[in-house]
């Protein structure tokens, strides 16, 4: 088992030097695979993340359902009103989401629907800091360890906990790992994760037509924005008074109290709006004219 509390993970990080190293050591102990092997396996996933961004930024057409497609390219060519780093992070998040929606290859992190946040945030943090590739690999282990804490104390499933358990969890993972990539202490990483997750408590899973597209692709971008804000706040020394471990438990409790209509069933929220219903029916109709091209 991975660490089941952030407090234990942070303690181990103080011994091993970082959250990423602590996660890597434990993974090696438990899997019996040595550290170079594990690093190589994660680097292979990193390469898939990069490809999924390149592929997604090139998409100019709609997905199989017709619900999404083309927004990553739109943002990548956009005005960068808040600077290019922020623009590029949003474009990357959308790119992975769009690649996923059109049956491209992605790395689930922690789920397929939320797979854009972790790469978008980590690449933004790395680009603006000239971080090395091994540093990014280390950060991915940190992200995984934070996700394992959430899986252990709450859930990573939209059907069980709503979108807060998918995009919310991805943003917390990315915020902690991005903070570490920018030199933050284990404590600052926990602050960033708490800030990112608290912002999304109660976020429902309401996919139009039951498909992993709308609003999922969009929420990869907005979840990325929240994670970047959390990194900025945490590295400025802003503290969120409720520890991350407790925020995670709160997320799980909120998830359990969400009605089933707001947990991936497409019976509530945006999926149940007049426009959402009409789009969902069109997307799921047999023999529609949309296709994978």
């Amino acid at each position: 088992m991975a660490y089941t509390t952030f407090a234990a993970l942070a303690d181990a990080a103080r011994t091993h030097g970082s959250l990423g190293m602590a996660a890597l050591m434990l993974e090696s102990d438990e899997s019996g695979r040595d550290i170079p092997t594990l690093r190589a396996a994660m680097e292979a996933e990193l390469a898939v993340m990069e490809e999924s961004i390149t592929d997604g930024r090139a998409i100019r057409s709609r997905s199989r359902s017709g619900l999404t497609g083309g927004d990553a390219a739109r943002v990548a060519d956009g005005p960068a009103v808040m600077g290019t780093a922020f623009r590029d992070a949003l474009a990357d998040a959308l790119a992975v989401g769009e690649t996923n929606a059109r049956m491209g290859r992605i790395v689930a992190a922690p789920t397929a629907g939320a797979s854009g946040v972790v790469p978008a945030v980590l690449f933004a943090a790395a680009r603006t800091n000239d971080a090395s590739r091994p540093d990014v690999v280390n950060a991915l282990f940190a992200a995984g360890a934070v996700g394992a804490v959430i899986a252990s104390r709450a859930t990573l499933s939209g059907a069980a906990g709503g979108c807060q358990a998918e995009i919310g969890a991805a943003a917390a993972m990315a915020a902690a790992a991005g903070t570490e990539l920018r030199g933050g202490t284990p404590d600052a990483c926990g602050q960033a994760a708490a800030i990112a997750l608290q912002a999304q408590l109660g976020l429902v899973c309401d996919p139009v037509g039951g498909l992993v597209e709308l609003p999922c692709v969009m929420r990869n971008a907005t979840g990325t924005a929240i994670a970047l804000a959390a990194i900025e706040l945490a590295l400025s020394g802003v503290r969120f008074p409720i520890p991350f471990d407790e925020v995670v438990v709160a997320m799980g409790q909120v998830g359990r109290s969400l009605p089933p209509s707001l947990r991936e069933t497409a019976l509530g929220g945006l999926a149940a709006t007049p426009t959402g219903r009409a789009m969902g029916e069109r997307a799921c109709a047999p023999g529609g004219e949309t296709s994978v091209d």
Partner: protein, 223 residues
Amino acid sequence: MARQRSIFDIVGPVMVGPSSSHTAGAVRLGALARAIAGGSPRSATITLHGSFASTGRGHGTDLAIIAGLLGLAPDDTRIPDARALAAAHGLEVRFAEADLGDVHPNTAELVIETAAGEHVTVRGSSVGAGDVEITLIDDFPVRLTGELPTLGVIHQDQPGVVAAVSAHLAAGNVNIASMQVYRERRGARALMVIETDTIVGDEVAKAIAGLGGVIGVRAVPAV
């Protein structure tokens, strides 16, 4: 989740989207059905139930199941082209939608015609995060996850068969992780489903197939 939690279950797996349950899990269901039927099928009739029926098209569930039947893995970028690949490989597929009753919302039933012209029915569900369960093989209700190599043995319900099979596994140094035995009725046909830590080799499988009372043997790899 039944599996031990690894960092690579959280950041990973690498998969073709868009959905771990409706796409990646559907590939694994197809792959398990292929292995249970004993290799490349000639045709398959696939009935989709519940959420597989209502949202399967948008998730590429149809393509994913075909890909699995063709032996592709969940991260194979040819999954979107599965229909063309099936045509090229001479695999005929037909899809239907039906209410299969009180089963998981993400359920499919496959009636497979093997290369030898036999028919095998396999029903399975994608239960979340890419995890799957085969729940029916022909008339036998079973539980098979594909997380470990699995040996299926169809045999007569008579004393000594289970002991003889496990003796051959022991002699082949194969460790049993779990074992279930189902029978149609007393003295009729029965099915052993044995999950093992390592795949059962050809020699051991052949020896088991030659045992008295054994009707058929199938070694299904982990998918």
